[in-house]
Each structure stands twice: as C-alpha cells, then as structure tokens.
Symmetry: C2
Subunit: 204 residues, 2 copies
DNA sequence: GCAGGGTGTTGCACCAAGTGCAAGTAATCG
DNA sequence: CGATTACTTGCACTTGGTGCAACACCCTGC
C-alpha cells in the first residue's frame, strides 16, 4: 500500500524514481531535438531517437504519446497555466486585455529563446507538427471559454454562443502569427509587439 | 502523342475514362461517408471502404491521398475559388468586407446542407480530420495574403508583416466557429449570421 | 539478508496509414 | 488489328502507435 508516496514534502528528493524519470525525459527531449535540427522532423524516426537516447522504442512511447509530443511539450499543462493566469486577471479587464496579459505568461523565464526559435522553425516544415499544435489550441479554446464568457456577460445557457470562442480563436491565431513572424525575423523582433500589431490589424 | 486529350471541348463525353473516374470517385465518397456516419471516422478503416466500394485498397489511395481527403474534398481547389472571388471584389472594399463576401461563396448551391451537417459532425469527433482541416486553412492563408496585403496598402517587402495573415487567420477562425455553432444548432441557425456575430465579437 | 509487491523496461506481435514497384488488364489511337 | 497509354491490383515495405506479458529493479517488511 503506502498509497501515494508520502515523502512528497521534501522538494529536493521527490522520489528517486521521479528524478530518474525526469532525467530520462529530459535526455530523450534533448536527443530528439538535436536529431530534428540535424535532419528535420519528418526524416527522423522514433527508432532513431530511441537508439540515440539509449532506450527501446517501446519505452519512448512510455514517455511520450507521440513523436510530436517531444517538440510540443505538455501543452495541456501549459494551457491550464494560461487559464489560471487568465482567471487571475481583474474582472474589469476586457476579454482582449485579459487574454493578452494571460498569454504573456507563455514568454516566461523558463522558455529559452534559442530552442524556442528552433522549435518555431520545425513547425514551419513539419505539417503534422503544425496540425497537432492547432489541435491543442482547440483544447485551449474550451479551457478559456468559461472565463471569456464571464467577461462578456454571457450566461452559459444551452445556446452555443459563438462570441467567446471567436475571440479566443482570434487571439490564438494572432499568437501563432506573431510567433511565425518572430521566427521569420530570426528572433530579433519583439513577440509582444508583433502580437499587438496582429491584434490591432484584426480589430482596426 | 495526343498530349492532353484534345476532345476536352465536348462536355458530355470528356473521355469515357474521365467519366468512369468521376463515377468511381463519387461512389467511393458515398460509400465512405455512409460508413463514417455508421461507425465513426476513426473506427472505419481504408480496407473497409475499399471493400465496400468494390475496389482494392491500393486503388483507394489512387483516388484519395488520405482517408481524410474523402471527407474534406478538394480544399485546394476550393481555396483557389475563394481566392478568385476575393480578388474579384472591388478594391474599395475593406479586407474584412471582401473576405466576408468571398467566404460566402462556400455556401453555394453545390453544397448540400444535410451532408454538410454530417461532415461537420465528423469533424467534432475525429481529431485527425480537424487537424488536417486546420492545416488546409494555413494554405488558404498564403493563398489570400497577396490580395489582403493589397487592400491594406502593404508593399510586399522583405519584412514579414503579420497584419494581413492575422486578419485572414481571424476570419477563418470565425468561419470555423460559425460552422461549429451551426452544427451545434442542428442546422437551424443561419451560418452567415453566426459568422457575422463572431466577427462582431472579435472586432468589438 | 531475504521474500514480496509495485514500478519501469523491454521484446513481441499486431494494426492501420501510406508508398513504390512491377505485372496484368482494359481502353484509346493510328 | 496492333501499339501505346492509362488504370488496377497485389506485394512488399516503412512508420507511427498499442496491448500484452515477461523480466529486472528497488523499496519495504520480516
């Protein structure tokens, strides 16, 4: 029994298992990103990644649900974080304002600009990657919808009101466009400025 | 050597081959859509479709590049049609106006409402379908960008200006949302009205 | 130290989507 | 009718992904 490990409180030793797991996870990610950068996303097979990382193919799928997941990271968790940031914004802020501020948390200190640029490049020439990414944004739509509906003063009735989702979808589209433009600029442009420019164009 | 069939002028007999090809194409589509409706998109295999349509699995992929293509039709050609409609709009129209009118051509007489509703339903529970659809919209972005840039008065310089793409992406997002809402309403709501409501919310 | 349970790892068999190739077959043209 | 051309098909193969069962490992209780 022991249920869930009760030594969770010590932060430096969150179970040896957890530590090794994270280490393996990180090593697979590093190896895979290196291979992707070298030969492209599509041209790299899971077998290659597994071999290079010193694990079996089967174990790879134990750590990642799909090849795309290595690049995308845990967009699910990221989405929840953005949603939390969104709900933490004052209720007086408009939907667009709140979304803008919440999305800015994506540009936190943990996101490395260099690898970010690399990843953005991969999205450019890997359709399957792009597709999965867009799919995740659909999930985000659902995640953010309640808050945005509240800000619009929409009672969550049975009628599927398209307004909240439209705003969220537009904002995420602007985000993608901004990241694209940022990548096209070689990382020199300011992502937030690009996002604001995109939003301004849409709402002009 | 005949080059490209020179009897293209006679519309009723565009080569027996072409006729049979179209017929087979249509039959595969019908068969597949029926199977998809019965057991769902993901649960239906290409082998099943091929068997039910009376052709070999290999021939299926001769007619369609992927299973998704059966549902999506030729979005490439459709995109070009919308682009043509877009470029045919008066230059005085704003980007949003022109896009709205151009997208309305999607709702032409050839699109059947019943099967349209069915297809919209499939998108709801087939992630891979949705993903490919979104991917196609990215292609549309590139397709429409020149015209929208012209309307915005942007000189197509080397700097990747995000404005045109942002507007297009937002419009397509509104379109998807509208179709979603239309599907959710069981086909009772007016798609154009839903689209306008979505756009109004975004630009409010 | 040793037995036992839970967890991670691995190999294996399997499925489904695609693709390239080569042989067979039917339609088209001279 | 004969030659060419296009379509169909089967086959083998690649790749991503999953379920299952055996194995190894580590931590714990005795």
């Amino acid at each position: 029994m022991g249920k869930i490990c009760l030594m969770d409180s010590t932060p430096d030793t969150p179970t040896l298992r957890e530590r090794t797991r994270r280490a393996v996870h990180a090593e697979i990610t590093d190896t895979a990103l290196r291979l992707f950068a070298e030969q492209g996303f599509d041209a790299t097979t899971v077998d290659q990644i597994a071999a290079a990382a010193g694990i079996s193919r089967r174990s790879f799928f134990h750590y990642f649900g799909s090849k795309e997941d290595v690049v995308m990271g845990d967009l699910e968790a990221l989405g929840r974080r953005v949603r939390d940031a969104l709900e933490a914004r004052p209720a007086t802020e408009s939907a667009w304002e709140a979304l803008r501020e919440a999305l800015k948390t994506l540009q936190g200190p943990d996101t490395d600009a260099v690898t970010g640029l690399e990843i953005a490049g991969m999205y450019a020439d890997a359709p399957s990657l792009r597709a999965k990414h867009l799919e995740k944004h659909l999930r985000w739509q659902e995640l953010f919808a309640p808050d945005i509906e509240r800000r619009l003063g929409i009672t969550p009735g049975p009628t599927a009101d398209p307004r909240a989702r439209a705003i969220i979808a537009a904002a995420l589209a602007c985000l993608d466009i901004a990241v694209d433009a940022w990548h096209a600029s070689g990382g020199t442009a300011d992502p937030v400025e690009l996002f604001d420019a995109a939003v301004a164009a849409v709402r002009a």
